[in-house]
Structures are given as structure tokens and as C-alpha cells.
């Protein structure tokens, strides 16, 4: 265990805890997901850089592309709920009629 490994592992777990425990806004949950993706990007980049395996450095780029897809789908859901419900609070999303 090196300090960098501990740092990105704890950032991933902090993002997961924030996603699991605090769900006031939908955007807060999406930001915690983005934090998890950011820690995964840093983890894959550090794997490349510390092991000098340069042909692996394409994988953080692909992870960034896929996380862009995830972020855009989540923000589209945010816009759709803001249009139908008027807010993005998760308490108001389980109403049967809005």
C-alpha cells in the first residue's frame, strides 16, 4: 500500500459513501458518481505511470469517453425530471401523480 494507492482508494470509497448515504438532490448523486469516475481515471493513469506499461495508457482515455456517456445520460435524466416534476429532489420522484 502506497500513499497514492490509499488516496485514490479512499476517494473512491468516499464517493460511494456519498452516493449511498446522501440523496437530497439528483445532481448531488450524479456529482458523487463523477467523483468515483475521476478516482478511477486517476487509478488507471497511475497504474500506467508507475508500472511503465505505456500501452495501457489508452484505457484511461476510453474510461473518460465512457464516463462522458454516463454523465450525459444522467444529466438528460436530470433535465427530464426537472421538466416533469419541477425540481430534482429525490423525495418528489416517487409521487404517483405530479
Amino acid at each position: 500500500m502506497t500513499p497514492t494507492h490509499f488516496a485514490f482508494s479512499s476517494t473512491f470509497l468516499l464517493g460511494l459513501a456519498g452516493l449511498a448515504f446522501h440523496r437530497t438532490h439528483l445532481l448531488s448523486a450524479l456529482l458523487c458518481l463523477e467523483g468515483m469516475m475521476l478516482s478511477l481515471f486517476i487509478a488507471l493513469s497511475l497504474w500506467t505511470l508507475q508500472l511503465n506499461s505505456v500501452s495501457f495508457s489508452a484505457s484511461p482515455m476510453l474510461l473518460l469517453a465512457f464516463s462522458a456517456c454516463e454523465a450525459s445520460a444522467g444529466l438528460a435524466l436530470l433535465v427530464a425530471t426537472a421538466r416533469t416534476h419541477g425540481t430534482d429532489r429525490l423525495q418528489s420522484l416517487n409521487l404517483l401523480q405530479c
Binding site: M1, L14, F21, H22, L38, V54, S57, L64, A76
Partner: protein
Amino acid sequence: MVYVMFMFLFGLVLGLAAVASNPSPYFAALGLVAVAGMGCGVLVGHGGSFLSLVLFLIYLGGMLVVFAYSAALAAEPYPEGWGSWPVLGVMMAYMVGVCAAAGLFWGGWYKGAWVSADEFAEFSVFRGDIGGVALMYSVGGGVLAMGAWVLLLTLFVVLELTRGLSRGALRAV
């Protein structure tokens, strides 16, 4: 350099604890910007200058701007930052948890990890991460095609989700 790296790593953990402690989305987006900046510093310290540039330009410049713009949809009359007590308490609880987990590994750190990429490759013309990404554009045609397909599919998913006039996926009742 070791002190600068420790500062960047501590800023990374502290920034994500600030994001995860449930502040208002304005402040959470600001915290994620700080986390991305600290991550750029970590990658530069390990010798990955091109990956750090990608993180700074694509992630911070492209995606987080959209997130900060979308914070306007989650506007609150009284936004709650880290000055209010519940948010600060949760953030301090997270940091105490991280420090307790660091205490478990204290003394057993492997100190040889500060070697950056291409440290022992003298007379190398290009950096390692630039060569790796160029390798993806050289022989990684299949996975590039898959990435382009996924991005195109996401475009249609977004258009379908946000389509109005009661024809979208989520309908205005």
C-alpha cells in the same frame, strides 16, 4: 517534491470528502473542480503530462462546465455550504474515518512508489503516456469504433430522454 505530492493527495481526499458530505449542488460542483485540479497535480507528479492535460481540458473543461451549468436546475433559496453545521459534521466524520483507515496502514507504506514514468529511460524522445495514446490511434481501431458507436448511441439516448411535447421517455403529465 514529496511534500508537494502529499499536499496534492491530501487535497484529493479532502475535496472528495467535501463533495460527498451533501452540500448544495453549487458547492459540490465547486468541490469536484478542486478535486479534478488536485488530480491533475498528482498525475503531473507521476510523470503523466499528457494524461494530466486530458484530465484538465476534457474533464474539467468539458464535462464539469456542463455539471456547473446544470446546478442551475437544482437551485435552492438557501444554499447550504460547508459553513453550516450538518454538512461540516458529515465531512469531519468522513475525514476522521479516512484518518483512522490511514492509521491502519501507518508505518507500512511502500516508499518506492514516487518513481515517475520514464524515470530511467534516458534519451527517450517521447513521454510514455503520449506513446501509449498514440498506440491507441495506431492499432486500436476496433475499440475506437466501439467508443464512437457508444457516443452516438448516447446522443440518441439524450435526445429521446429530453424530447418534449408528451412524446419523450418521461412525459409531462
